[in-house]
């Protein structure tokens, strides 16, 4: 046992001396492994980044919220069936809340009506277009997890009275007010004056596609008065227990049917949407990344492995006489086998470490220069890369190392 340890130490020493003596050759051979490790770690980083980015965004929206809407999320085929459904009106939220109150141990907490459209926000000469504008009630504060950087959300009195007050998203506030405080100032939402009473703290964007900071929140009544009285809404329903989504969903379906006066046997004329389902829509993207990453990884590791097999064969050939000498001095087959395996593994490990460092640097650069792109480095990637490198080394080094260990010492010693 101790003998094995001494032999291993000696093998590592020889391997590194060997690699140092053949720097260029070793680096070129390690290239395949470097690319492979970069590909696999970048892939892991991207997938993790998408997941965390998504979860963060879900938390921003409230990840314990069900959406009662006319349409399901995702594509539909029978467009007309959905479009003919009766609209979901904001007052249905009140009725729903009454039912929730009457239900003992309800899994539903509160229903909040939300109408939305795109408008512009203007202050003096400064104008932002394409602002995501929502009208909602004071209960909205119970849905979202965001903080306010300044001010507050409107209260129930302001909301019910349809007062012309508004809460700006961070980017909107910054765009129209630059560095001044917008509190108490009057902005034009569309063409209607609203007094700013709050600014939502910066939340960032959803996968860099959709910014939560580019919004303005109005009291529902004011929204309906100025933008569209007959326009439908969606109902966002907060549930009490994230672990019991399915049950809450069942309860909600029953309650909404009552609110909408549906008869038994009639098909639901609404959809309950949830973010969990939305998340599933990202799966193809993640699978795509994984597939591309695995393909590139596989290809470069394959090429790398062949390169390393080749260099190990060359190394065995060049050092045939040395192998003979070692055998004459008492090296067993195992010793020789391990020595060349360790040499192949060492090259792979060096490639793997280089690849990791490269990915790490890339991730740092990306997260500093393009904060919108979600990337995240993790410790498990280090272990995966090391394992992949070692496995590549063993697989590619085995055949030449085996051959070396089987060499007849006399033949090896005579080799010139």
């Amino acid at each position: 046992m101790t003998r094995l340890i001494y032999e291993l130490t000696e093998s590592f020493r020889i391997a590194f001396a060997q690699i140092r003596a053949n720097k260029l050759r070793s680096i070129l051979t390690a290239l395949g492994v470097i690319i492979g490790i970069v590909a696999v770690t970048l892939m892991g980083t991207a997938i993790r980044g998408i997941d965390t980015g998504f979860n963060k965004s879900l938390a921003m929206l409230g990840d314990d919220v069900l959406y009662v809407q006319k349409w399901p999320w995702g594509p539909v085929e029978d467009f007309w069936n959905y479009s003919n459904r009766p609209a979901i009106m904001p007052d249905q939220a009140d009725k729903l809340n009454r039912i929730i109150e009457q239900t003992p141990n309800s899994l539903l907490e509160v229903a909040v009506p939300v109408s939305s459209r795109s408008t512009s926000v203007k202050y003096g000469e400064n104008k932002v277009s394409g602002v995501f504008t929502i009208g909602t009630t004071a209960d909205y504060g119970r849905l979202i997890s965001a903080d306010f950087s300044e001010g507050r959300l409107f209260n129930e009195t302001e909301a019910n009275g349809g007062r012309p007050v508004c809460v700006l998203g961070f980017d909107v506030a910054e765009a129209v007010f630059q560095n001044r405080s917008p509190l108490g100032e009057t902005v034009l939402v569309g063409s209607h004056p609203f007094t700013v009473i709050g600014v939502v703290a910066k939340q960032g964007s959803f996968l860099g596609l959709f910014s939560f900071d580019n919004q303005v929140i109005l009291p529902l009544e004011a929204f309906r008065k100025y933008f569209s009285a007959r326009r439908g809404a969606e109902l966002r329903v907060k549930i009490t227990d994230k672990m019991r989504v399915a049950e809450a969903r069942e309860e909600l379906i029953g309650a909404v049917r009552r609110v909408r006066g549906q008869l038994p046997g009639e098909r639901d004329n609404f959809n309950i949407n949830e973010q969990g389902a939305f998340k599933a829509q990202l799966d193809p993207i993640k699978q795509g990344i994984a597939l591309a990453g695995l393909f590139i990884t596989g290809l470069s590791l394959f090429v790398g492995a062949i390169g390393i097999m080749n260099i190990t064969f060359v190394s065995v050939k060049e050092r045939t006489k040395e192998i003979g000498t070692r055998k004459a001095l008492g090296a067993r087959r195992r010793t020789i086998l391990l020595q060349f395996l360790i040499e192949a593994v060492s090259i792979c490990l060096i490639g793997g470490i280089a690849g990791l460092l490269l990915t790490y640097t890339l991730v740092q650069v990306v997260s500093v220069t393009l904060p919108a792109i979600p990337v995240e480095f993790s410790v498990s990637l280090v272990f995966i890369s090391m394992a992949v490198s070692i496995a590549t080394g063993i697989v590619s080094g085995f055949a030449p190392a085996w051959g070396a260990s089987r060499l007849d010492p006399v033949v090896a010693l005579r080799y010139e």
Partner: protein, 245 residues
């Protein structure tokens, strides 16, 4: 040791022979070269005892190296019997032979066969690694062996920083370091100029005096006459076997 040491037989000590170390009988070795079968050894029998200093002589191609490899357990006979310190070697497998080579035999090659990227000390330590010695003990033993061949001040030189004679001394230190039963040297002076060759033979004389058992292969009469006994080979057969003189 003076380089002028001539192979004068008078005044040399000859130590009494010890127990039997090598006993081969009727050993043959065949090599297949395509269609042709080469009889490198055609039936060789030798007994070698501890404390002997033996030279194997013969013209090129007579089978000296083949015999040497056989005695050194690098190779096994095609036919015949080989007992090394009473153990039957002819039937041993690779790793058993490796252990015998490691513990019982010290090789000295014509081309020195040092590892080019390792220091002299690391080269000498190598057999001790295979023997399972701990690093500290390895170092002590290796330094001792280096001092014994007069290279105590060249421990950290690499082979390419040493002269031919010094390289062969390192190789001899490596052969000695594990205190083997016999030292086998195949044309140890073949790659050295005659003056350095004489120095190496003087070192062998010293090793012999210290109690080592030596077998030196050579095709040079001058070198062979340093030994106490000469076995002459011709065409794979022993032509003569007797004391020097």
């Amino acid at each position: 040791m003076t380089p002028s040491l001539a192979p004068e037989l008078a005044g040399r000590i000859t130590r009494p022979a010890g127990p039997l170390v090598i006993d081969i009988a009727g050993v043959t070795k065949l090599y297949q070269m395509g269609e042709e079968i080469i009889h490198a050894l055609r039936g060789v029998s030798v007994k070698i005892h501890r404390n002997e200093y033996l030279a194997v002589m013969g013209p090129s191609g007579s089978g000296k190296s083949t015999l040497m490899n056989m005695l050194g357990c690098l190779d096994t006979p095609s036919e015949g019997r080989y007992e090394f310190t009473g153990k039957n070697v002819a039937t041993m497998v690779d790793d058993e032979l490796a252990d015998i080579r490691n513990r019982e035999i010290g090789f000295v090659f014509q081309t020195f066969n040092l590892l080019p990227r390792s220091t002299a000390l690391a080269n000498v330590e190598l057999p001790l690694i295979y023997a399972g010695y701990a690093p500290a003990e390895r170092k002590t033993k290796a330094i001792q062996a280096m001092q014994n061949v007069g290279l105590g001040d060249r421990l950290h030189h690499r082979p390419n920083e040493l002269s031919g004679g010094q390289r062969q001394r390192v190789a001899i230190a490596r052969a000695l370091v594990n205190s083997p039963s016999i030292i086998l040297a195949d044309e140890p002076t073949g790659n050295l100029d005659s003056k350095t060759g004489v120095e190496i033979m003087a070192l062998f004389e010293q090793l012999y005096a210290q109690g080592n058992t030596l077998i030196v292969v050579t095709h040079e009469e001058d070198i062979a006459r340093h030994a106490r006994r000469i076995v002459r080979l011709r065409d794979g057969l022993i032509e003569s076997d007797g004391p020097v003189g």
